[in-house]
């Protein structure tokens, strides 16, 4: 019976290994300087690259972080420091609900709120992804703050430091590692999101022009190339872009894991 459990583990890891191998094998042949920097060619036209997609992804992540990190961290600090407040329980609950919202629903929301007024734009995409980041970062921050030993706080308070100052200068820096890993995980999560981007930045083949114009992004480019009827030409590009995307995600996740490993004593 125990072997069956380990068999289950093995079965689950097969797709993981398969995906990683496929992406690496199919994508590595695409990786060269040109591919990473050139403009995206139309479907069916050989050549070109994914430069705008990489740039677009980075920009949209930056905007999302500007929205998601402050709101997420501050909310997390509140939930962690004031667990007995009236709104804490409800906020925590709603936070969990929000974190599981279908990403396309967030996309529709953003579309109505922003795109229907100012058109397809990077800003809208960043907004949508930022909305998705908030619950992830909030929860991670809350957990990290709660883990800070209370004697640290008590020592500071005993010295006469105001509570708010204690939080800012002692508790939060102590929780820094957990907060950082939360942020990194949130970034890795939204880097690969396609659905909200479909409805907000629309995608494009060109490099970034303005914050209120459509832009390219890695997941969108992958999706578009994968739907192309010209398989020989466009599928390799999709794999190349996938490799870049997976590398970004993997690096972030590995960093997080290395940061969170406990130092095994002796």
């Amino acid at each position: 019976m125990i072997t069956i459990c380990f068999l289950a583990l093995f079965i689950a890891l097969i797709p993981l290994i398969s995906i990683l191998i496929e992406v690496i094998i199919n994508g590595i042949s695409q990786l060269n300087f040109n591919f990473l920097t050139q403009e995206i060619y139309p479907l069916g036209l050989a050549g070109g690259g994914i430069g705008p997609a990489i740039q677009g992804t980075l920009i949209v992540i930056a905007i999302a972080s500007l929205i998601g990190i402050p709101i997420g961290v501050f909310s997390g600090i509140f939930l962690g420091e004031y667990p007995y407040s009236k709104i804490t329980f409800a906020a925590g609950f709603l936070n969990d609900i929000l974190s599981n919202m279908p990403s396309i629903v967030i996309g529709i929301f953003t579309w109505i709120l922003i795109v229907s007024i100012t058109g397809w734009s990077v800003f809208a995409g960043g907004f949508a992804l930022g909305l998705m980041m908030i619950p992830l970062i909030t929860r991670a921050t809350e957990e990290s703050i709660k883990i800070v030993p209370s004697n640290l706080r008590e020592a500071a308070l005993a010295l006469g430091i105001a509570q708010w100052k204690t939080t800012l200068t002692i508790t939060v820096p102590t929780a820094k590692k957990g907060i950082t890993t939360g942020i990194l995980l949130a970034i890795s999560r939204i880097a690969g999101e396609t659905a909200p981007l479909l409805l907000t930045i629309l995608g494009s083949r060109f490099f970034f022009t303005s914050f209120f114009e459509p832009t390219a992004a890695l997941p969108l480019t992958i999706f578009n190339s994968s739907q192309s009827p010209f398989r020989d030409i466009d599928w390799p590009k999709a794999w190349g872009a996938s490799l870049v995307l997976i590398l970004i995600v993997l690096v972030l996740n590995i960093i997080v894991r290395l940061l969170t490993r406990e130092k095994f004593k002796r």
Binding site: I108, Q163, G192, T194, P219, F223
Partner: protein
């Protein structure tokens, strides 16, 4: 002495407060309140913008089977979402049926049968499954999974079970079963992570007690499984919530066909795929956009209900453990 579970009681607070404290707390509190606002706006705005469609079609939207923004012959557009609704529910159900045993097995293996060091890295690998972006699952699905399924697995299934109408039809791979299988792989990490936490939360005293009674290693997990049962149900429902909302991977493998499926090997549709495929093109008539937003509303409510139920179950389970006797 058994402790009864109780609501959290606020400990006596320190009375020395500076004005900075109230400002700080209010500032943080306002930002936290944003979450309420976001969620509220989400429901409100989606409802408002689908009002046109709701007024036009009413409940027939939910059980209508035709979706035509521009009927030939110039009649009024007609929208009904029963096929994608069933598609979403069915593919998610398939996903749960497949992933449930696998996830429980992994969770047990990780919480009961492995040492901490290996556990750490194995858990990492399982979490990597969750980290892989949805499009890449879709790409892999088209390129690797579907060929394997359509050439080897599906014909084999059809040989054995082909007499059941549910397993008849052409097995070209882009169908609802593939959608379910892909979803299953994607939600395994979700169910596993929560189940593993729940199993780990079972007090060691229980394990020690049952081993003291002479249980084998596997039998000693009986107590874990019994205690964790409701929590695992919560985890599974949470996985269902994730499966319901998944868009890209499913869109790429499910065939995107709007008819009610008769067999698992038929192509099908999901609510999310419908939105993803048609939203950018929906300019006229005006009720088209409203209908698509209503699809989003249906999806939102579905995900909301499933997630609320799941979270409540998980919270209740964790609270139950706190009241368990410990020496």
């Amino acid at each position: 002495m058994s402790k009864t579970s109780r609501a959290k009681k606020k400990p006596k607070s320190i009375n020395i407060k500076s004005t900075g404290d109230s400002i700080f707390k209010s500032f943080l509190g306002i930002i936290t309140f944003l979450i309420f606002i976001i969620l509220g706006l989400l429901i409100l705005i989606l409802t408002l913008n689908s009002s046109l469609s709701i007024e036009t079609y009413g409940f027939s939207f939910l059980w209508g089977t035709e979706w035509n923004p521009t009927p030939a012959g110039g009649g009024a557009p007609i929208f009904g979402v029963l096929p994608p609704l069933l598609g979403t529910l069915t593919s998610s159900l398939i996903a749960i049926l497949i992933s449930f045993p696998i996830s429980i097995g992994i969770a047990l293996a990780l919480s009961e049968f492995t040492k901490k060091k290996i556990n750490f890295w194995l858990s990492f690998l399982v979490e990597l499954l969750a980290a892989i972006p949805s499009v890449i699952y879709g790409l892999w699905g088209i390129f690797t999974l579907i060929p394997i399924l359509s050439q080897y697995v599906y014909p084999a299934i059809q040989d054995v079970l082909g007499f059941i109408p549910l397993f008849q039809g052409a097995t070209h791979g882009y169908n609802i079963l593939t959608g379910g299988i892909t979803l299953a792989i994607m939600i395994i990490p979700t169910i596993t992570a929560i189940s593993r936490d729940i199993f780990a939360a079972v007090p060691d005293s229980q394990r020690e007690a049952i081993i003291a009674l002479g249980a084998t290693k596997w039998e000693s997990t009986k107590i874990v499984r019994k205690y964790g049962r409701s929590g695992v149900i919560g985890a599974v429902i949470l996985g269902l919530g994730r499966a319901v909302g998944e868009t890209m991977a499913v869109t790429m493998v499910i065939g995107n066909s709007f008819h009610l499926f008769d067999s698992l090997f038929d192509p099908s549709y999901t609510l999310a795929s419908l939105i993803a495929n048609e939203f950018t093109e929906a300019s006229s008539p005006e009720v088209y956009l409203s209908a698509l937003i209503e699809v989003g509303l249906v999806l939102l409510i579905l995900a909301l209900v499933v997630n609320v139920i799941a979270r409540l179950i998980i919270r209740y389970t964790k609270r139950k453990f706190r009241g368990v006797e410990t020496f």
